[in-house]
Symmetry: C2
Subunit: 238 residues, 2 copies
Amino acid sequence: MLESHARVGIRNRLLHKIALEDWDLIGPHLEPITMKERQVLEVPAKPITHAYFLEIGVASVVAVDAEDHRIEVGVIGYEGVTGVPLIMGDSRAQHSTYMQIGGAGHRIAADQLCGAIARSDGLRLLFLKSAQGFMIQTAQTALANGRAKLEQRLARWLLMAHDRMTSDAVPLTHEFLAVMLGVRRAGVTVAIHGFERRGLVTTRRGELTVVDRPGIELVAGSFYGTPESELKRLLGSK
Amino acid sequence: MLESHARVGIRNRLLHKIALEDWDLIGPHLEPITMKERQVLEVPAKPITHAYFLEIGVASVVAVDAEDHRIEVGVIGYEGVTGVPLIMGDSRAQHSTYMQIGGAGHRIAADQLCGAIARSDGLRLLFLKSAQGFMIQTAQTALANGRAKLEQRLARWLLMAHDRMTSDAVPLTHEFLAVMLGVRRAGVTVAIHGFERRGLVTTRRGELTVVDRPGIELVAGSFYGTPESELKRLLGSK
DNA sequence: CGCAGCGGGTACGTTTCCGTACTGAAAAAG
DNA sequence: CTTTTTCAGTACGGAAACGTACCCGCTGCG
C-alpha cells in the first residue's frame, strides 16, 4: 500500500493507532523534532502552539498556582500526546509542560490537530480516550499526593518514567525529582539512599538506574498501576 | 416561544447553556430526581447508567485504588454534570461518585447523553469544556494534596462546597470531611476548632456554618480559585 | 424517659517531613 | 589545571499530621 506520508518508523503509540483512512489528516502535518531536557512545550495561560507526539523522552505536566506552588500532575511519553486541552476544545494551556527527560518525536500545529479532530469521528474518539487516560493519571496523582509516603511516591514516579524509557538509567537530579513530587531535595536524597541500600537502584551524579523494578513496584504498592492498566483498557492491549 | 420540553425552572448551569436548537436532544430525556446524601451515582469499574445535572446538593468524586486508599478528586454541583467519562467516550466509571450533600436535579440515561453528544457539535463542545473544567479541578486537588496544609485544604473544600450551596450551613460530619481530605477525623476536628475560634465558622453536631467567607478564602490562599475562574473562562462569565 | 450509638473533644507518643544550612565531591567553565 | 558551579550527603530542631484510644454529650429510638 502506498502512503504519501509514510508511517514507517513511527513509534508513538497514539499515532500508531490512527486508522489508515484518518492518516492523511495527521501525517502530512507532522514535523519531526528532537527536544532537550527542560525544553518548554506549554506555558500556563498561553496558547498551545503544538501538540507533541513523543517517541523518546518524558514530558512533565506541572500544575502551578498564583503563589507559585507547583507539583507534577502527570507525565507523558511515547504512549500519548501533549496538549490535552486542545482535545477538549480549549486552546490555552492550563499547566506548565516541559521535557523532563530529553528525547524526540513529532509535533503538529495546534490548529491542524483541532481541524483533524473536527473532521474525523474516529480521530476524535482516539484522542479523547488518550485524554481520558491522562485524567486518570492526574486523579491517581492526587491520590498519591494525599495518601502516599514520600518513598512510595518516589517509587511511583520512577516506575512511570521507566515505563516511558528505553534505558534503565534515569538522567535526573534529586533537585528535579523534588520539584516533581513537591518535596524537599534533601528528602529525595534520603529516600533514594534507602532504595540504594536495598539494591533497588544504583546512582551516579545526576543519574539513577533502575536495578530491581519488581522491588520498586513493591514499594509503590497500589499507588502505581491504575493509570497504566486503564490506558490499556481504553486504547487496546498492545 | 414554544418548547415541547420546558426549560423553565432549570437551574443547572450547564443545561442552561445548551443552545435552543440542541435542546431537543437533551431535554426530552431528562428525568427529575431528588437525591439523599450518600446516594451513589457511580461505582468504580462499573458502567455509568446516568449523568446527573444537579441543581441542589453536592456530589463527591472519589478516587480509589486497589488497597482501598481513597481521596476526593473533585466536587460537582449545579455548575456541571457527573459522568465525565461518558463525555470522553468511556462508558465505565473510574471513580466512586456519590452525593455528599443531598439535593435534586435531573438525570439522563448514559446512552441518550452519548447519542446527543454524537449528533451535535455544539453539545459536544459544551460538555467537553465542562469536562475540561473538571480536569482542572482535579489537577488543583493534586496540587493542594501535595503542597497545602490540612487547614488550607479544609478551607478550600469548604469554599468549593459553599459555592455550590444555597445555604451557608454545610450538613456534614467531621468523619466525612476527613475521608474527603484523606486525613484523620481528629485532625479535622482540631482544624475546625481553629476556624471556630477565629470566627470563620460556627458548628453544631453534624453541621458547619460558613460565617466569614472572605476569612476562609484568606486561609485557603491560592489553593482555592483556579478551577472556578477557569470554568468561567471556559463556559462564559454568567 | 431511658438507653444505645453516633459524632465530637481531647490526649499522647510517634512518624514523617519540613526549613535551613553547612560540607565535600564531581563536573563544567575558564 | 584551576576556578566555579552544581549536585549530593548530612545534620538538627521543629512543625504537622498520624495512629490510637478514651470519654462525653447529643440525638434518636424503643
